[in-house]
Amino acid sequence: MRRNWSLYPYILWMVLFTIVPILLVLYYSLLADGGGFSLTLSHYARVFEPLYLAVIWRSILLALVSTVICLLLGYPVAMILAASPAKQQFSLIVLFVVPMWMNFLARTYAWMSLLETNGIINTVLGFFGIEPLSMLYTSGAVVLGMVYNYLPFMVFPIFTVLRKLDPSLLEAAEDLGANPLKTFMKVIFPLSLPGVLSGITMVFMPAVTTFVISQLLGGGQFTLIGNLIQQQYLRTYDWGFGSSLSIILMVIILLSMGLISRSNAYEEGGIL
C-alpha cells in the first residue's frame, strides 16, 4: 500500500472532531451518576421505559411520514427540473434554493405565523366565514415543517441522477413498446434508485433528530427524541441519560442506513 500523506490532516480532523466526541458520549452514557468512575447500564435501561419508547416511536413515525411525503413531492419536482432545458434549469434551481438561504429558524417562525389560531391562514379563512382551524401544535404542523425544510434534500440527489440518465435508454424502452408509464416503472425509476436512496437518507436523518421543528410547530405536545436529548443536556443536566439517548439514536440511524444500502442491489459503479 502506498502511503498518501495528504490524507493525514483529514484523518486528524476525523479523530479530533468525530471519533473523540462519539467516544465521549459513549463514556458519559455508561458513567454512573453520583461521581466516581463506575460504569452502569442504568441509563440505557431508562431509554426502554414505555414513556421514552413512545417518544422514540413517534420520532421515527413522523420522520418516516415526512420522508415519504418528501419523496412523493420531490420526485416529480426532480423530474421536471431534469427535463427542463438547460437555461431554465438554472433559474428553476435558484428559485428552489433561495428559500434555503434564509435562516432555518426564520423559515420555521414564518410557518408559525401562517398557522397560528389568529395567523394569516385563519385570517384569510375568516373572510369566507370559516371558523379558525387549529393547525399549529399538531403532528400535521410538525410534518409540514419537516417536509418544507427537508424537501430540497430529496429533490437534489434525485435530480442529479435523472439529469445524467442516458436519454437513449428511454428511446430503447419506447422502441420495445413501453409507453411512458412503463418506461418510468421499468427504466427511469430503477435507474434513479441511487438518488432516491440518498434522498431518503438525507431527509430521514435530520427529520428523526430534529428538535427545533417539533418545539416550534409542535409546541410542548410533540416531544421527539431530539427534544428529549436537548432537555437532558440543557435543562435537567442528566448527561448520562442524554448520552444514552444519543447513542440509541445513532444506532437507529445506522440501522436504517444499513437497511437502505442493502436494498440498493444495483450499484452505480461506472454506469450512470
Binding site: D166, S168, L169, E171, A172, A173, E174, D175, L176, G177, A178, N179, K182, T183, K186, V187, P190, L191, Y266, G269, G270, I271, L272
Partner: protein, 359 residues
C-alpha cells in the same frame, strides 16, 4: 442527381414522402423520397453526418420530420408515438439497460407485450444462440465487451420479430470474422422471418454484399437508389462512383456517341447522348484497367510508382506521361519503375455529367 424511386411492384412497407428535417434551422435532410418493399433489405450508405441515423430515427418515431410524411403499410404514421410503431431498432450506441442483465434486456420487449413466460424463455434462448452468445443470460451488461453488447442489442431487437427492423451500424464494433458471420446471420434471418430491414452503414462493402437496395446519401440528399450491381456499375454521379469502391476520375470531353477524349487520346465507349464537345467526368474502376508488359501495343503508357499487396490483388499506382495518376487493381504485379501498357474496354469507361455545383 436523380431521385429515382424503385418500382412500386411488390407490397410497400415504408414510404418516405418528401421528408425534410431541420435541427435549429440547420437542414440535415432534404427531399427524401424512399419506398421500401415488404421483406426488402435496404441499406442507407453515406459518409459520416450525411443523415443516415436521422432518417432511421424518423422511421422509428424518435425524430419528427420538419415536413413530409412517413407512411407505414399504407398509413401515415407521423403522429404515432414510437412505442406504438411495429418497428424495432438496433441503436448505434446499443442503449442496453444497465440495471438489467442480458436475459432481462432481451426479454424486455416480450414482457411489455405480455408474452407467456415459457415462450419468453425459449425466444430469449434462441435469440442468444442466433448472436452466438449462448449461456450469457445472467451476465450483467457492464461485464460485456463492446462486440458482445452490440450482439445483445441485435438480439433484443430481433427477438420481438417486428415487421421492420432498423439497424444503425449494428456490426461496427465486431471484428472482421464475427462481422462476416453476423452479416450472413442477419441476411438469413431477414429471409426466413420475412422482416423488412433498414440497415445503416458507412461500409460500402457491407452495403453491397447484404442489400437488395442501396440508398447512397450525401449531405442529407439521396444521391442514388438502386441494386448493389446497379449502384456499382452505373454510378449516377462522381460522388457515388468515388464512394462505392475505388475509382479513377478523369476530366474528359465527349466527342460523339461512343467516342470520348481523355488522357490525351480518344477512346471508344458505350455512352451516348451528351452534347458534342461537352466536358464530362470519366470514371474507371481500378480493376477494369488491363495492364500488359508490352506498352507499345496498349492504349496508354505509364510508369509504376508504387505497389501494395492487398491479399487477393495488387494495388498499383502508375503515372502517365501527362502526369495523371491511375490506380490499378490487378492480380499480376509490375515492379515500381517499370513502364506498362494500359488498355480499357469500351463498356468499362463510364461517362458522367459534370456536376454544376461542385461536389
Amino acid at each position: 442527381m436523380t431521385q429515382e424511386n424503385q418500382g412500386k411492384t411488390s407490397q410497400e412497407m415504408i414510404r418516405l414522402v418528401d421528408i425534410h428535417k431541420e435541427f435549429e434551422g440547420e437542414t440535415v435532410l432534404q427531399r427524401i423520397n424512399l419506398s421500401i418493399a415488404k421483406n426488402e433489405f435496404v441499406t442507407l450508405l453515406g459518409p459520416s453526418g450525411c443523415g443516415k441515423t436521422t432518417t432511421l430515427r424518423i422511421i422509428g418515431g424518435f425524430e419528427h420530420p420538419t415536413s413530409g410524411d412517413v407512411m407505414f403499410d399504407g398509413q401515415r404514421i407521423n403522429d404515432i408515438p414510437a412505442y406504438q410503431r411495429k418497428v424495432n431498432t438496433v441503436f448505434q450506441r446499443y442503449a442496453l439497460f444497465p440495471h438489467l442483465n442480458v436475459y432481462e434486456n432481451i426479454a424486455f420487449g416480450l414482457h411489455i407485450a405480455k408474452k407467456d413466460g415459457k415462450e419468453i424463455k425459449a425466444k430469449v434462448k434462441a435469440a442468444l444462440n442466433l448472436v452466438d452468445m449462448p449461456g450469457f443470460e445472467k451476465r450483467p451488461i457492464r461485464s460485456l465487451s463492446g462486440g458482445q453488447q452490440q450482439r445483445v442489442a441485435i438480439a433484443r431487437a430481433v427477438v420481438n420479430e417486428p415487421k421492420v427492423l432498423l439497424l444503425d451500424e449494428p456490426l461496427a464494433a465486431l471484428d472482421l470474422k464475427m462481422r462476416k458471420e453476423m452479416q450472413l446471420e442477419l441476411k438469413n434471418m431477414q429471409k426466413q422471418l420475412g422482416i423488412t430491414f433498414v440497415f445503416v452503414t458507412h461500409d460500402q462493402e457491407e452495403a453491397l454484399t447484404m442489400s437488395d437496395t442501396v440508398v447512397v446519401m450525401k449531405g442529407g440528399v439521396i444521391q442514388q437508389i438502386g441494386s448493389p450491381i446497379n449502384i456499382y456499375n452505373e454510378p449516377q454521379n462522381v460522388f457515388v462512383a468515388d464512394f462505392i469502391g475505388e475509382s479513377i476520375i478523369l476530366e474528359g470531353r465527349f466527342l460523339e456517341d461512343c467516342l470520348v477524349e481523355f488522357a490525351g487520346r480518344t477512346f471508344p465507349c458505350v455512352d451516348k447522348g451528351f452534347a458534342p464537345g461537352e466536358p464530362v467526368d470519366v470514371v474507371i474502376r481500378p480493376e477494369d484497367v488491363d495492364i500488359s508488359a508490352d506498352p507499345e501495343s496498349a492504349m496508354l503508357q505509364a510508369t509504376v510508382t508504387s505497389v501494395v499487396f492487398k491479399g487477393v490483388h495488387y494495388e498499383m499506382l502508375a503515372e502517365t506521361a501527362a502526369g495523371q495518376e491511375w490506380m490499378i487493381h490487378s492480380t499480376t504485379m509490375a515492379p515500381p519503375g517499370q513502364t506498362i501498357g494500359m488498355s480499357l474496354k469500351p463498356d468499362n469507361i463510364h461517362l458522367m455529367k459534370k456536376e454544376v455545383q461542385g461536389t
